[in-house]
Symmetry: C2
Subunit: 362 residues, 2 copies
């Protein structure tokens, strides 16, 4: 058995030595098994097993001039730096009265998680790895490690995106404000919201609606709001009777805003820009002693899990989150395959899930 420095990972040289062939043959046996004699291949494979050899992705990347990895850049959250201090168990278990309050976890993480999984699966199919980074200071040094970058709109400044795009393929995720020259994948926010209005106004015949929007600077919110207004106009609903307030996509703020709205006058239906807001609206509605859907209908948007567990379960527009992640990676692959193709902008379709908060019929 060949001796080698202990502690150091075995290399092609070790394998070659151990199998009695050249390093080139080892490389071939691994990359294109058909190009070597079955006998040689077997000896190489044995040596690999024996040594526990794993190819160095770095060396391979250097020689190949491609890393075999894609990057996914997630937006950061304000609280992202918190709560990572591990608290070793000291035997005591803290007990907290959590009634009324809620754990601060928002719905957004689930959304990203699903996109991440879709992206990971697609990358894997392509034989690539997925590098995940969360936006923070300017350290976009991840760009030296990947062949392409999928970026959530809010995760990077337009300028930085342009900078990185000079060097490698970049695809924007869920950002319909996308720079027109950069590939993008997003979901059909406008049509989704229109379909909801269609149901409420067209099917249920309700014309007294209010809208609980998200933050004013959110592109997603803008598109949904627009879809809402447009559909309403199509039905000839008087714009002036329409009431709308801005929240921040968060549950707590939504509850406060909804409470104001209800205090003014209770609309027959309250459409919310996302599920978190709808959950907040539900809080306010219950606090006001109103019933859903009897007194007021509520709808959300996104399709987060918690929406289905609310009481009543919330009607929502489900985004194809996993597909979104997969599509982003595919866009990167396509761009690498053909760098000169015109920019692609893919829009995925959404699905309305009618649940108790705004049922199929009244």
């Amino acid at each position: 058995m060949a001796k080698r420095k202990v502690g150091a990972a075995p290399t092609v040289y070790d394998v070659a030595g151990s199998a009695g062939v050249s390093i080139a043959t080892v490389s071939r046996a691994i990359r294109s098994p058909d190009s070597v004699t079955p006998a040689t291949r077997e000896r190489v494979e044995e040596a690999i097993q024996r040594l526990g050899y794993v190819p160095s992705a770095s060396a391979r990347a250097l020689a190949d001039r491609r890393t075999g990895a894609y990057g996914l850049l997630l937006p950061g959250f304000d609280d992202i730096e918190d709560a990572v201090e591990p608290v070793p168990s000291d035997g005591a278990v803290r007990i907290t009265d959590d009634r009324g309050s809620r754990s601060p976890v928002g719905g957004a993480p689930l959304y990203f998680d699903e996109v991440l999984r879709g992206a990971e699966v697609e990358a894997w199919r392509h034989g690539s790895a997925l590098l995940v980074a969360v936006r923070r200071g300017q350290r976009q040094d991840i760009s030296g490690r990947v062949d392409g970058l999928a970026v959530f709109g809010r995760a990077m400044s337009e300028e930085a995106i342009g900078q990185v795009a000079r060097r490698m393929p970049v695809v924007l995720i869920a950002d319909e404000q996308a720079a027109p020259e950069i590939d993008s994948v997003s979901v059909d926010n406008a049509r989704g919201m229109r379909a909801v209005v269609e149901h409420v106004v067209g099917v249920l015949g309700i014309r007294d609606l209010a809208y609980l929007a998200g933050p004013k600077d959110s592109p997603d919110d803008a598109v949904r709001r627009h879809g809402f207004a447009e559909a309403l106009a199509a039905h000839g609903v008087d714009r002036r009777r329409l009431r709308m307030r801005h929240g921040d996509f968060g549950r707590a703020r939504a509850a406060a805003v909804a409470a104001e709205l209800l205090a003014e006058r209770v609309p027959r239906a309250l459409l919310c820009a996302n599920d978190q807001s709808a959950l907040g609206a539900l809080d306010a509605i219950h606090a006001a002693g109103l019933r859903v859907p009897e007194d007021i209908l509520v709808t959300g948007f996104d399709g987060i899990e918690a929406g289905g567990y609310a009481s009543p379960p919330i009607t929502t527009v489900r985004q194809p989150m996993r597909a979104l992640g997969g599509a982003a990676i595919r866009a990167l692959e396509a761009r690498i395959a053909d760098p000169t193709a015109p920019p692609q902008h893919l829009t995925l379709s959404v699905e309305v899930l009618l649940r108790e908060s705004c049922p199929p019929t009244l």
Copy 2:
């Protein structure tokens, strides 16, 4: 301005040429700015800006003999390959009656997402990147790309773990069955469950409990179950009066199992091995026309978001998920810093959140 091959990313050579220095100096100016003259440093920095140079992580890794990245291996789910086919929007929005049914997304993803974020932040603090992979066929080729691997117990066979551990630091996450010689981080499942029993039996004075367990092969479940039984024994509750059933940690199965249990006889309290199961139990309880907490108390475990949105909100044991991810990466860093230290097994403390389904007092 220096000409260079277009399309190819600039290298140290380009920067050196453009700045009129040697590549060694470029490297120094980047790695240890103090080791070069301020004037030189500035010229190098200018050249870097001008060229849009980004160091190649691969080349650096090769020279350094470390990749500057950690890997996180997540368990796969059966449905993970599904639903990644992007459906381009054709203008039509499907509308589905989703009452009663629920979207199939489980609570697990959220859990992993939080762990992932904790790990990413910690890796970033350490100047490293985080590579994410989901368990699939034997392709654990990710091990050639990272300096250490954090693995969820179920994500890799013991054998495979041992194999990888021969080559690089490995830390097991949330797997108390951990091989004793491999570092691990987990949460205090046993104490968490004991604290719940303590509350139900000790504080609320209830002695008629049932337990809804998870799958028989889950280490997490085993530990929680053990904590439950132990605490009960400590209070002298008759083991034979104790009823327990196994579910699969999923909501649907839990509902079915809980229904059987209730049909037999309704216990005063039903403790569940995780939140998903508790949600399922709630389904069965409501279907049976029983009220929570008046007729029966329910508790879960994990602290997933949906638990707080259920009606009533579910009392649970919150795991420090983000801290868990951070701790895993720290363990890797520690192991790299001192490869000879004895194996570390860190247990993080949990917190009981008392909510309406099992309130502080009756």
